[in-house]
Amino acid sequence: MPLGRLAGWLMLAPALALLFGVFLLPIGWFLAGSLTDFASFAEFWEEAQDVLFSGTILRVLLNTNGIGAAVTLLVLVIGYPVSYALSRAKGLVFTAILLCIVLPYFTSTIVRTYAWMVLLGRTGLINQILLGLGLIDAPLELMYNRTGVIIGMTYVLLPYMVLTLFAAMKAVDPRLLQAAEGMGASPATVFFRVFMPLTLHGVIAGVLITFILAIGFFVTPALMGGPDDIMIAMLIEREVELTQNWPAAAMMTIVLLVVTLLLYAVYSRFADREAPR
């Protein structure tokens, strides 16, 4: 093995050891322990069908995908112009936008979610302002329902989209845009025919990473959602903590893991690709 590659692996070793110790090992243990309880494969298969094709899990999967899709779409719509501004900004403006995006990362998801609850509650800031202005007569239901989950998750996931798109947009050669303008293209044409196609791989990567993270969400839907907004991670937690049905939890974990890994395989193809040259 050449020295460079050896050095590369050595530098990765601590991270790999950590991942193995706190992630791979426990999850393997949990899955093996839960699934070896079955006396025969037939027994396992029967249980698996019960768990995976029950009404509950189908509804939860539908919730998970629906919330994931809605959040991803919102994040894209909000994130694209922000990334664009960030990719064009210089100096202080650049730093200001970047700080606004990254700073919330320095606090935990739970703290940020509680902050949203202060804003969105029945007597929260937003409702008080709207009531005070006379724009509404009764407080809006912004929390403990789908709206609250989507607002909270959109906020948490926005930075992932913005930073992914930013990388793709920064890679676009501004001289190409100028050239297009010189050849008679209007600003809209420059955007749709040159800029957008050149950043499309970033959009795909951003959408996939956002969706992958969204379908595994737990804290935000647990705190800000209502009884109809149960997502798969919450269901898994309930099977482990409340009903103590570990085999069922293990099966759901496998479903989530497989879906995530499949999406990740697609994602890495787009994320690793540089802008087309």
Binding site: D173, L176, E181, G182, M183, P276, R277
Partner: protein, 352 residues
Amino acid sequence: MSGSVDLDAVTKRYGSETVVAGVSLVIPEGEFFTLLGPSGSGKTTTLSMLAGFVVPDEGRVLLGGQDMTRVPPRGRGLGMVFQNYAIFPHLNVAENVAFPLTVKGASKAEIKARVAEALAMVKLTGFETRYARQLSGGQQQRVALARAIVGHPKVVLMDEPLGALDKNLRYHMQVEIKEIQQRLGMTVIYVTHDQEEALTMSDRIAIMNHGRIAQMGPPREVYENPESSFVASFLGEANLVKVRRDGETVRGPGGAPLVAARGALSANEGLVFVRPEKVKVAAGTAELRPNHLPGQVLHASFLGNIMRYAVSAADGATFFCDVANGAGTEIHRAGDAVTLSWRAEDSRLLGS
């Protein structure tokens, strides 16, 4: 609209720095006009003002007689070749060449015919479905050229289009660009820092320095009759030797009397300009006649088709002399005593 291009005293400042200072140009339709100058001389900014990417602080830009000073690039109808080619990586050759027509909303049939014609003109027929990354530098250059001419613009701007190509390819492309320009009768405004390229291709050259036009004229005129030492030394090799006035006579190194057909000394001291290839080198010592100087060969370099001599004359002056290596040419060696001479018509006095 005709293909004439005028700049009327345009000035551009960035902060306290004046990049282009009151440049005026009158370029008739069909002319191959070159802006030549060192980097930072303002030639690219001048071109950008013609293109519309930069709005001048003062002055006007006229295309075909119409004031276009504040019209954005897309309203100017110019063809453009960019320094880095600016080929769209997500579009293939045919789509790239079609771009100026597509954004104008031309019909499919027209686009197809024009693209085929333009690609044939740059000898890229058969490359329609390739992408930039599958093309060599020379081929990318041709795509850029085809895209610039596809809409049959009256005026085409070219910003150092051959800068990235090797010498041989450059020469071929120079010939091809010139051919296409003449066939289509278009006005070309060409920016380069390569003086040889400017001399080969242009009808007229404007030599720029510090944001101003130092001199403007046909290649032979600016080469043989430079009005300043900057132009003289920027365009090829030049002997610029100190002279002083002595009554009615101009005296060079060692007090030798000099006669120049053009120029004059504004003060008591100045320079005489003569190109190396205009200086004759003869064996033996000179008799005292105007434009004849005694000297000694310092170096003799063999460059194939020419011999280049460095000859020291009196008062520490050094002359470079290029002698064609023709039939029966006498070869001098370092240390030989020689006489340098040139015709009054081939030299010029410069104020500084």
